[in-house]
């Protein structure tokens, strides 16, 4: 991602900020300008709780360029407890720890760093809910 694009998305990446329709209450992630249900604009900022569950997941062994040192890693579709779904990495887990329906929570991690000299992109990933007490 380009530096301006990451910068514009920082509230989304850093805090899971989306949008809520002030009229009909529909929630969007990522944020959008206009409500798809009732056409209201503008929408309000909405901060997600950061809790959700795993809908489906896969372990990545053939990663895109720049992620080779991190394999294998778990990529999942997460359903946030407020409804919207997103794709994100699941961290702080070993291969046998992940299952469909598993409750997860927001984790703040490095998403990418461009070589030794480029900008570092930070943002949300997910980990087992209740970390580090999830296994107790």
């Amino acid at each position: 991602m380009s530096v301006p694009r990451v910068w514009r998305r920082r509230k989304v990446l850093y805090r899971l900020e989306g949008a809520k329709c002030p009229k009909c209450g529909k929630i969007y992630f990522p944020a959008r300008e206009r409500c798809l249900e009732c056409n209201t604009t503008p929408l309000e900022e909405y901060l997600f709780s950061g809790y959700g569950k795993i809908v489906t997941f896969t372990w990545v062994y053939t990663p895109p360029k720049g992620f080779k040192s991190r394999i294998p890693y778990c990529l999942a579709i997460i359903e946030l407890e407020e409804g919207p779904r997103l794709t994100a990495q699941v961290v702080a887990v070993e291969q046998n720890d992940v299952s469909i329906g598993m409750p997860v929570e927001f984790a703040f991690r490095k998403i990418a760093s461009e070589g030794k000299e480029g900008v570092i992109t930070y943002g949300f990933k997910f980990r087992p809910k209740g970390y580090p007490n999830h296994a107790k």
Partner: protein, 350 residues
């Protein structure tokens, strides 16, 4: 009747990565007697960050915990200071990342601080001053490090990763800051030049004229200026580069092993540098009772020590239920062997 306005901690939060490597395993690689090294340092294992964790990410995690405990509107945090010797960028603050991630931006000031292992407590003093002078309601001070030791160097056994955030305010305190003062001299016991990957140190020079002189003086000074003695405190906390130094410090000052023991997390996570004494304090706050008094002295090479006296407040038992305790992070761990550790810390060039 007037009540004295008190400044102190309204929320504290820690974060320790889940990976560990045993001192024994590091010693094995360098042909050293592991058990002996472990025993002489008083350190069994140290924490290691995940490959997508750095000082900024662990600072954010600790800060989120502190804000959660305080249960305040983050827009009221008007200062964010991150003390570290391992900021991810040479130029570009870590504190702006933390401020944005917790929702303190844009009406806040932010800065990165550097003073080896005491940059975090320097931030606590700055927040204390700003809140005390009524410039702001809340200030956030963080000590965070993902420190690196040169492979084969003595520092490699202990250089580890962890973060602690203290949210400072004047209402609904978990613990009051009753007094703080510092000792500083120019003493080159540990340094890292611009562009160098690993720090250098003055070997034996790091003990007597550096750590002990500053920490002992700061602790003695603060007891003298407040008219207190070791038996007035339930707990003491000193910077923990290993277990040996704080144990010797406690003894020299007249504290018992029992007063020091709860803060000695260095045995299980190593030296978390800027977070070291702050995580020690958090471990004490996790178990302390209202009206317990705590004496703390940090240490930063270069060199200086910040001393604090805290008094634990009513209601702490309820407040600390909202976030993970230091012990929870100590218990949840995953061991790495040296080769995986080398990969985690970027010691293998790809």
């Amino acid at each position: 009747m007037t009540t004295k306005r008190e400044i102190g901690i309204v929320g504290y939060g820690v974060y320790i990565p889940r990976f560990r490597i045993k001192v024994d395993e590091i010693a094995r690689i360098w042909g050293q007697p592991g058990e002996l090294v472990s025993k002489s340092l008083g350190v069994f294992e140290k924490s290691v960050p995940d490959m997508d964790e750095d000082t900024a990410t662990i600072a954010v995690e600790a800060a989120r915990n502190a804000v959660k405990m305080a249960s305040i509107n983050p827009e009221e945090i008007r200062a964010v200071y991150v003390g570290s010797e391992s900021h991810p960028y040479a130029v570009k603050p870590t504190a702006t990342i933390v401020a944005e991630a917790i929702g303190a931006t844009p009406d806040t000031t932010a800065a990165d601080l550097e003073f080896a292992c005491k940059a975090g407590t320097a931030g606590v003093q700055m927040c204390y001053g700003l809140v005390k002078s009524k410039e702001m309601k809340f200030g956030l001070a963080i000590g965070a490090d993902c420190s690196q030791g040169r492979p084969g160097d003595a520092l490699e056994y202990t250089a580890s990763a962890g973060a602690c955030a203290l949210l400072i305010g004047d209402k609904n305190l978990v613990a009051s800051i009753d007094h703080t003062e510092s000792v500083t001299t120019d003493t080159p016991d540990f340094w890292r030049r611009e562009g160098a990957t690993y720090p250098s140190h003055g070997g034996r020079f790091t003990g007597e004229p550096a750590y002990f002189k500053h920490v002992l003086t700061a602790a003695r000074n603060i007891m003298e200026s407040t008219g207190t003695k070791p038996s007035d405190f339930a707990y003491c906390v000193f910077h923990e580069p290993n277990a040996k130094f704080p144990l010797a410090t406690a003894k020299k000052l007249g504290f018992t092993k029992e007063q020091l023991a709860p803060s000695l997390v260095v045995r299980y996570i190593g030296n978390t540098y800027s977070a070291s004494s702050m995580i020690g304090l958090a471990a004490v706050l996790d178990i302390a009772k209202p009206s317990d008094r705590i004496l703390m002295a940090s240490y930063g090479s270069g060199a200086g020590s910040d001393a604090f006296i805290y008094t634990v407040k009513e209601g702490i038992e309820e407040r600390r239920k909202s976030t993970p305790h230091v012990q929870d992070y100590l218990d949840h761990k995953f061991y790495l062997d040296y080769s995986m550790y080398a990969k985690h810390r970027g010691k293998i060039k790809m």
